[in-house]
């Protein structure tokens, strides 16, 4: 066993089998990040300049916007999470794959599903349910591909070297188990054999809430729980309490979705359950924050590094939970306003994307035996992403409040809410442009590292695992 302070370079058979699949998942994820940012930027500009490219159906806002959202969720965040998640499972368990080819084929198949799905939305055969816009054929491809991807998470966990399971492994297992269940349920009941309209609202809200809190969030939390102790070379703070946080998050995450329908055409208890779950989520989020932030010290955060991404990501996680818990206070004004888009920006771009970017920057040198990004590059990536996400979130949140008051006040005409939101939407669109630039810069730097190292020997750096730092 190596001491925490002296990382060694040794060849690990198991982890090496993941090298190519993980590189493939990350490369395609970064590609979809660029596509998603481009479509997102375009839709943001269309919001302020409605006559921009308005002559063709496939470029209309109502198709570009869901295309962007789906590209970011299924193309970028899901794939980056899958790749990094499997990699972390292999590292924590010192296990490998039986067949890297099967996983790579499944990954390509997943990308095919995303590509066809995006095309189906743009072509006008998408379904108008959030997160389920992909055509039935693409959704089927995603599920089939997932079956061949997700199974490896169980294989890696089963073949792990040590008996105990680290908190990252719990979260990853949760994500990998829940995704097929919730995606299949939602497609089955809303798309393939749709239930009657009266039941669709709560099921769609449940799906969207679960997609965030039981698929994306646990994957990203697992990565943060893994990488923070690696960076700071000391154990998580108050590690035993993370068990409580874990179960609470899985339980409450499942219920939180219906708060989107507060006051809506569903039984009041369903919406109340969602609000109550969102409030109670403060408890696990507090524990997660203590676990992760408590491990940091001033020394670790003095310069912008991969860790800065993760720190900002975790801060956004905490902020998103606080926003969710504040629902009953602000909902009357914010419910259908741009503030609600801001909530999604905070989660999908702030929490999920920032953490994943940091984790990719961290994984890159360990996957390629290259130095990865230089300190200067990482710092530039960090500030440009942080600036753009912050601008987008801030503009939507403040603009949403003005717009929301106009929407709420019975004396105000609807059109005033558009006028009030407009300057903030302009700022949001500028943020979107910077996000697109940041994504392209990140993708170029990523491609440079991958292309110059794709043929390097399969030697990987193995640092001591968090279990070795923490007495579990």
């Amino acid at each position: 066993m190596t001491s925490p302070d002296t990382p060694t370079t040794i060849e690990v058979e198991g982890e090496a089998t993941l090298r190519l699949p993980v590189i493939m998942f990350l490369s395609s994820a970064v590609f979809w990040l660029v596509v998603g940012s481009f479509l997102g930027c375009l839709s943001a500009w269309k919001l302020v300049l409605p006559s921009l490219l308005d002559g063709a159906g496939w470029l209309t806002y109502g198709r570009i916007q869901p295309a962007a959202e789906n590209a970011l969720i299924y193309g970028w965040a899901s794939q980056a999470g899958i790749g990094l998640g499997l990699w972390v499972l292999a590292r924590l368990g010192r296990a490998g794959l039986g067949s890297e080819r099967l996983l790579m084929a499944a990954g390509l198949f997943w990308n095919l599903g995303v590509l066809l799905g995006i095309c189906s939305i743009v072509a006008g055969s998408g379904h108008a349910i959030r997160g389920l816009e992909f055509s039935s054929a693409s959704a089927t491809i995603l599920l089939l591909a997932y079956a061949c991807i997700g199974i490896w998470s169980l294989v890696l966990l089963r073949n792990r070297l040590k008996g105990s399971l680290y908190v990252s492994q719990w979260y990853l297992l949760t994500a990998f188990l829940c995704f097929p269940w919730l995606y299949a349920t939602a497609n089955m009941l809303l798309i393939w054999y749709p239930v009657q309209g009266s039941a669709q609202g709560p099921i769609a809200a449940w799906f969207w809430g679960n997609l965030i809190w039981l698929w994306l969030a646990p994957m990203v939390l697992a990565l943060a729980y893994y990488v923070i102790p690696q960076f700071v070379r000391r154990p998580l703070c108050a590690y035993p309490s993370s068990v409580l946080a874990f179960w609470a998050l899985v339980f409450l995450g499942g219920w939180s979705g219906t708060r989107q329908l507060i006051g809506g055409p569903i039984p009041a208890w369903l919406a109340s359950a969602g609000v109550a779950a969102s409030i109670m989520m403060l408890i696990p989020a507090t524990i997660v924050s203590i676990n992760t932030f408590g491990a940091l010290s001033a020394r670790n955060i003095s310069a912008a590094s991969e860790l800065s991404f993760v720190i900002v990501g975790m801060a956004c996680f905490a902020a998103a939970v606080v926003q969710g818990a504040a629902t009953p206070l602000v909902s009357a004004v914010t419910h259908f306003s741009d503030y609600a888009i801001g909530e999604n920006v905070l989660i999908v771009l702030g929490f999920v994307t920032m953490t994943l970017l940091g984790m990719i920057s961290y994984a890159l040198p360990r996957l390629t035996s290259d130095q990865g990004f230089s300190q200067k590059e990482t710092s530039r990536h960090f500030w440009s992403f942080a600036w753009s996400v912050g601008t987008m979130f801030g503009a939507l949140t403040f603009g949403g409040l003005f717009q929301g008051f106009a929407l709420y006040d019975p004396r105000v005409e609807f059109i005033s809410s558009v006028d009030l939101a407009m300057p903030f939407r302009f700022l949001y669109a500028i943020g979107g442009l910077v996000l697109l630039g940041s994504s392209i810069a990140f993708a170029v730097a990523f491609a440079r590292v991958i292309l110059t190292n794709i043929s390097s020997p399969k030697t990987v750096h193995v640092y001591s695992r968090p279990q070795e730092l923490v007495n579990v």
Binding site: G62, P66, A128, L173, A199, V250, G254, G263, I341
Partner: protein, 207 residues
């Protein structure tokens, strides 16, 4: 049981609780709601969609109208929807019984459309608005849906379907007319059908 098996079982169980509570409940209760007969008028509520309106629903879905428009009049302390006259009463689950899919929406970038058929019954108004929104509603940030219309030279008599009163840069020149495609026709039929002002046992319209 191994540690891994315990964890798998635990996650399944915890996930299943919310799955059953939200999805199972919705499926079994809300999913089996029935239309009701209004004994005063002899009508069945909510009324069924016409064939055109049902087709228009798919055009509404395909063009992502739901990205900007809600279709729900909320009740309770969290909303002023009824005071804002979005409808004569809050909508309830039964209102969406025949919707496929139910376009509840989540943003009001544009106005709520639950009762848009009550606000105007003139198909030409809808066509002109879809064709070039800013000329009908100044300051609107709705994009144009010109691609659902065809501009053509008038051959003989002008079409009775031709959209009248168009202004702005895309208005037809003399000798030309703008006619809706099948998609625009059914979309407007759908929008005109959006009237949730009928009484339901659980939601009587306010006087």
């Amino acid at each position: 049981m191994s540690k891994l098996a315990q964890l798998v079982f635990g996650v399944f169980a915890v996930f299943a609780i919310a799955w059953w509570g939200v999805v199972g409940y919705s499926y079994l209760q809300l999913g089996r709601m029935q239309p009701v007969l209004d004994e005063n008028t002899g009508e069945v509520n909510p009324p069924p969609f016409s064939g055109l309106a049902a087709a228009g629903q798919q055009v509404y879905a395909a063009n992502g109208c739901v990205s900007c428009h809600t279709q729900q009049v909320r009740s309770g302390a969290f909303s002023t929807d009824v005071e804002k006259k979005l409808g004569p009463r809050p909508t309830v689950a039964r209102d969406y019984l025949r919707d496929a899919p139910a376009f509840l929406g989540h943003l009001r970038i544009g106005p709520d459309l639950t009762n848009v058929g009550l606000r105007s019954s003139d198909p030409n108004w809808f066509h002109a608005h879809l064709y070039e929104p800013q000329t009908v509603t100044p300051g609107s940030n709705m994009p144009s849906y010109r691609y659902l219309y065809r501009m053509r030279r008038i051959a003989g008599q002008p079409s009775i379907e031709a959209v009248t009163g168009l202004k702005g840069p895309y208005a037809p020149q003399a000798g030309y007319e703008v006619v809706p495609t099948e998609q625009a026709r059914v979309l407007v039929a759908y929008l005109l059908s959006l009237k949730r002002n009928y009484p339901l046992p659980e939601a009587e319209p306010l006087q």
